[in-house]
């Protein structure tokens, strides 16, 4: 099958039309006709080869919503024409201890949708069927793409850290991930504090369900919320003052990292004396994605999106680079 994609030839180039051939679909795989594909900050990091994982021509895109157009012979749980979502992962071994435990996102040989293969900035994208989660009718599918990467990234920590409705949780960084985290935590029953360097985001943060908003440009403004949070979710990739952020946690609280922040300096005092912890998590398993989607449908949780036709991918990336996304950009297929 010939795929029409948008690819970057180098770390410095923009995206331009690019065609490539897909061999016959594998036994456990499906091909998806892309209807919508979100742009995540990690598409930009991969474009620039920030993590030294990128191969060029590079086709990004890992927040896919589309319809199954082909499936391998052993795929029984998806039907042709069924609408599914696909995120960061597109393959796992199924036999390692993590896959066998339902934690496919921890599989040491997990395949990422845009690493060493081509992603969803295209008319078609391929994936192991396992990673394609059916979308139910009560989800606005044109907005659902960002749930498959940004959404699951901030949903997982709530489960991992056994967050309860009685907990007070802070979200640092009100962007593509943060605005979803606030919605999840609000729906979870938590008291939610948004921490942002941008005072102008207060109204929107509150509209997503933040009970409190703290401008955290300087350490002083944070003093007032010392010993306050059960979890502080770091949804930014800016450099952190980890000791300062940990001082905002209650005893037994956790600083949970999902943004690729630079190296942090961590002292032992708060870890030991106040039994605090530093945790992190990578997206989520297929089972967890499914659970998240059901929760989103029941609680009316959706990303705030800006749509661009896929042919305007370079304009869309310019908005992302300037920090102008409010809060997640979605590319729409033009010949679905």
């Amino acid at each position: 099958m010939l795929v029409s994609a948008f690819a970057a030839e180098s770390a410095k180039s923009g995206f331009s039309p690019y065609e490539y051939e897909l061999e016959e679909v594998g036994k456990d795989q499906v091909d998806i006709a892309v209807e919508h594909c979100g742009i995540c900050h990690s598409d930009l990091s991969m474009l620039k080869n920030d993590w030294e994982l990128t191969t060029y021509p590079f086709v990004g895109g890992h927040e896919v919503v589309g319809r199954v157009v082909a499936k391998g012979e052993s795929v029984s749980h998806l039907q042709i024409d069924q609408r599914v979502g696909l995120g960061w992962y597109s393959g796992a071994c199924l036999t390692c201890e993590y896959c066998l435990s339902g934690k496919h996102n921890l599989c040491p040989s997990a395949e990422a949708t845009i690493v060493g293969r081509h992603g969803g900035f295209a008319n078609y994208v391929r994936s192991q069927a396992l990673w394609c989660t059916p979308l139910s009718e009560n989800l606005a599918f044109a907005e659902a793409g960002p749930l498959f990467c940004g959404g699951i990234t901030v949903f997982h920590p709530i489960l991992q850290n056994k967050i309860k409705a009685t907990d007070h949780v802070a979200v640092l960084g009100i962007g593509g991930l943060g605005h979803l985290a606030i919605q999840f935590l609000n729906a979870w029953g938590c008291e939610v504090t948004a921490l942002s360097t941008t005072a102008e985001k207060e109204v929107e943060a509150r509209s997503y369900g933040a009970d409190h908003f703290v401008v955290c440009r300087d350490p002083e403004s944070l003093k007032a919320v010392e010993n306050t949070f059960d979890m502080l979710l770091v949804a930014t990739n800016a450099k952190l003052d980890a000791e300062l952020l940990m001082s905002l946690l209650k005893r037994e609280g956790t600083l949970h990292i999902v943004g690729a922040v630079p190296e942090m300096e961590v002292g032992s005092f708060q870890l030991i004396e106040h039994q605090k912890s530093i945790t992190g998590s990578p997206l989520g398993s297929p089972a967890l994605v499914n659970e998240m989607l059901k929760f989103c449908g029941r609680k009316d949780i959706a990303p705030a999106t800006q749509h661009f036709p896929m042919s305007e991918i370079n304009e869309a990336f310019e908005v992302l680079k300037k920090g102008g996304a409010r809060y997640r950009i979605v590319l729409d297929a033009e010949n679905g």
Copy 2:
């Protein structure tokens, strides 16, 4: 009551005989006639005022075994002449959310036995009765003191991190804490690896229950145990290469700190991608101490001790300073 203690007059001085007067015992307190008192590395840190918490004259000692000689009117669960143990904490408020939850060791106004008051290098020491745990008959009481600080410090992480018999746990630092950690973990059913800079400790580490012994003087020797441990318990206060140690953890593994290590540099990759964590803990609650003592009795777990008469406290500290304790020094009262 007049107390005959050993006190240091300054950070640089040794201990010398020192007497002080105790007022009448408080309603919820007991006075203990000290029979034995372990020396912990934190007695040395406090002596030197490393943590800027010390007041002089300084009377250390917080691994006490002795008999109740006086009790306040509201103390009903301890009897005169009953043998008890006392550790790092000697008071808590009983009304904060942590005390009310049975986590008295997290009480923000917890009182430490040797901070702002006088400890167990003396013939008598006072404590809130809550922190005095009765010793059962099947424990060798002359050896039990170190359980109340060193022991509970390494027992707590096993519970906190929900360690199971199927887990593989590493203990870094085979000293007063580490040799107890190995015994606990072995009795817990775990596979245990001892990590030490001192090759000569292998035979003893194995005698305490280590299945494996790794000399960790250089990074190369650690390469062989990458992705191996469910928990790596840091029972040293030496400077850590946290990233290197985290690379020895399996996915979802935790680096648990109980030693007052200097500031660490921590990257986000292993936290996020491999869902690893960094945790810590402060001693344990009275309920947990009780649970530990029952476990020690049932599993025949005891510290390896070297005994000195209390009047030889300065000689004992010299052994500790030179790293010569194998593995915990206990001072014995001479006029019990």
